[in-house]
């Protein structure tokens, strides 16, 4: 077998901690990140059953400030930002002029929480440059500032059913912890931070945003409860299998600049009653309401035998090449092999397209995936693959 060479990349403030813990480091989105410590399976299971601790400092942070802040964000995302209350967060996307996705992101209304800042946006590491350029360009028509703060902050995610008890131990009682998709200022063992009830695993948990200079202390403080709560440091490998099981998209895989949020099966995050205009709104809403046909559709599938589908593998329906796998992996929780595929409707007959478009009729439909020059059966299913375990 061939082992890939490592490429030079930026290090997060927690790099030395990862090395001490025996992590295997890999380049990701321009950063050198831990892909695993003890092993992906252990880290995955810890996140589902007790707690996983992730360094996600590579993620980007943007501050939005100015009297037009709400109108500005309302004009660039499908989410209804005018309905987003202070201390609340929303998951949304950044559509371009043709409805393709520049990035997916979480917007936090930070009024009264971060001094003089109206909104905090957390974005993908690999898209920081594109997002900042896109937003600063759009901001010219508004009285608003778009400030890239990505180099100032570290971010740590504590995910799993035991996460809340760990947070209780280090300073915030259960009844004072922010609820799902809200956040607050907090002190964890005297370290000031933003404590957010968000994540990327399908489990209850927190993402903690803090100054770089405090990150090492918080990381080691949390790990001092390793034995009591069975906390495992977890790398990008487990993060990927966890998010895939939860049916959450990854930019560059399930989302890209040529595919709308509706085509990427994110219609639930596109409200129909929002009044404000945003890029390609008519096209995106037209697709959501069925007035404009989809060009392609992201669908979840389960392999019917032991072969694992990987990104880029070809997908066939009734013998016709019609798409590609966007993400594929063994589901550690289910013990089956799962994935997402993007099916191109232009390569299929109308009757098949109408079945694929119907989220009830398409379940159980047979597709084939080409693995090393042989076709293997898979069935369309619905997401999530593993039930979400959020505390709402």
């Amino acid at each position: 077998m061939v082992v890939k060479e490592e490429i030079e990349a930026k290090k997060t403030i927690l790099y030395d901690e990862h090395i001490k813990l025996g992590a295997k480091m890999v380049p990701f989105g321009g950063w050198l990140m831990p892909v695993q410590y003890e092993g992906i399976i252990k880290e995955h299971n810890a996140s589902r059953n007790s707690a996983g601790l992730f360094d996600v400092s590579h993620m980007g942070e943007i501050f939005i400030k100015g009297i037009d802040a709400t109108d500005f964000l309302n004009s660039i995302t499908p989410a209804d930002i005018s309905a987003l209350k202070p201390a609340s967060a929303v998951y949304t996307q950044l559509p371009n002029e043709t409805g393709g996705v520049v990035d997916d992101l979480i917007i936090y209304n930070s009024r009264g929480i971060i001094e003089n800042i109206d909104y905090l946006i957390v974005i993908n590491a690999s898209r920081i440059k594109e997002d900042v350029e896109f937003m600063q360009n759009k901001a010219k028509k508004f009285d608003v500032e778009v400030i890239n703060k990505s180099d100032d902050f570290a971010m740590v995610a504590l995910q799993g059913p035991k996460a809340k008890y760990v947070i209780e131990k280090i300073g915030v009682n259960l009844d004072l912890q922010p609820s799902f998709f809200t956040f607050k200022n907090a002190k964890l063992n005297d370290i000031p931070c933003l404590l957010t009830r968000t994540g990327y695993t399908g489990e209850d948990g927190f993402e903690i945003i803090l100054d770089n200079k405090n990150a090492k202390k918080l990381w080691t403080d949390i790990l001092s409860y390793k034995d009591e709560f069975n906390i495992h440091p977890a790398g990008l490998g487990a993060r990927d299998t966890l998010r895939l099981e939860a049916g959450l998209p990854l930019y560059g895989h399930e989302l890209n600049e040529n595919t709308t949020p509706i085509e990427s099966s994110l219609g639930n995050f596109v409200p129909e009653n929002k009044t404000a205009q945003y890029s390609a709104k008519d096209f995106i809403l037209g697709q959501k309401t069925g007035k404009i046909p989809l060009r392609r559709k992201l669908l979840p599938f389960i392999m019917q035998d032991r072969q694992i589908a990987r990104e880029g593998y070809e997908v066939y329906i009734e013998g016709k090449l019609c798409g590609k796998v966007t993400s594929g992996a063994p589901s550690i929780t289910l013990g089956k092999n799962i994935g997402f595929c993007m099916i191109e409707f232009s390569s299929l007959e109308d009757n098949l397209v109408s079945i694929l478009n119907n989220s009830k009729e398409n379940i159980g439909m047979d597709i084939q995936i080409m693995v090393r020059n042989k076709l293997y059966n898979a069935k369309i299913t619905k997401k999530p693959f593993v039930k979400k375990n959020y505390e709402k």
Binding site: M1, H44, T241, Q307, I308, A329
Partner: protein, 125 residues
Amino acid sequence: MNIPEGILVSKTHEWVLEDDNGSTIGLTPWALEQLGDVVFVELPEIGTTFSKGETFGTIESVKAASEMYMPVGGEIVEINESLINSPELLNEDAFSNWLIKVKADNFQEDSSELLEYNDYQDEVQ
């Protein structure tokens, strides 16, 4: 984990041990550590023939699929069936859990570029 005496290793991390019964082939502990948790192994059919450097099978970790290459050419005479249902055994002991046994066509010639295990260890570490 016992390192079998006399094993030779390819640049692509396959080890081979030649004795009176033929050539036994596996993957090195270093390669398996790089892969992480092994979840799937695909091995060739008995009776197939491969030349040196040809792909004989696939090993998959949670993250990725990798091909495995013949360190010496020859006919497959046995595969390690227990790895089909328990691929994770490879992470436990890379030497007792061999992959395939081969009747080598020309072991002397094919093995001339293979490294002794100590030299291989120096190279990867």
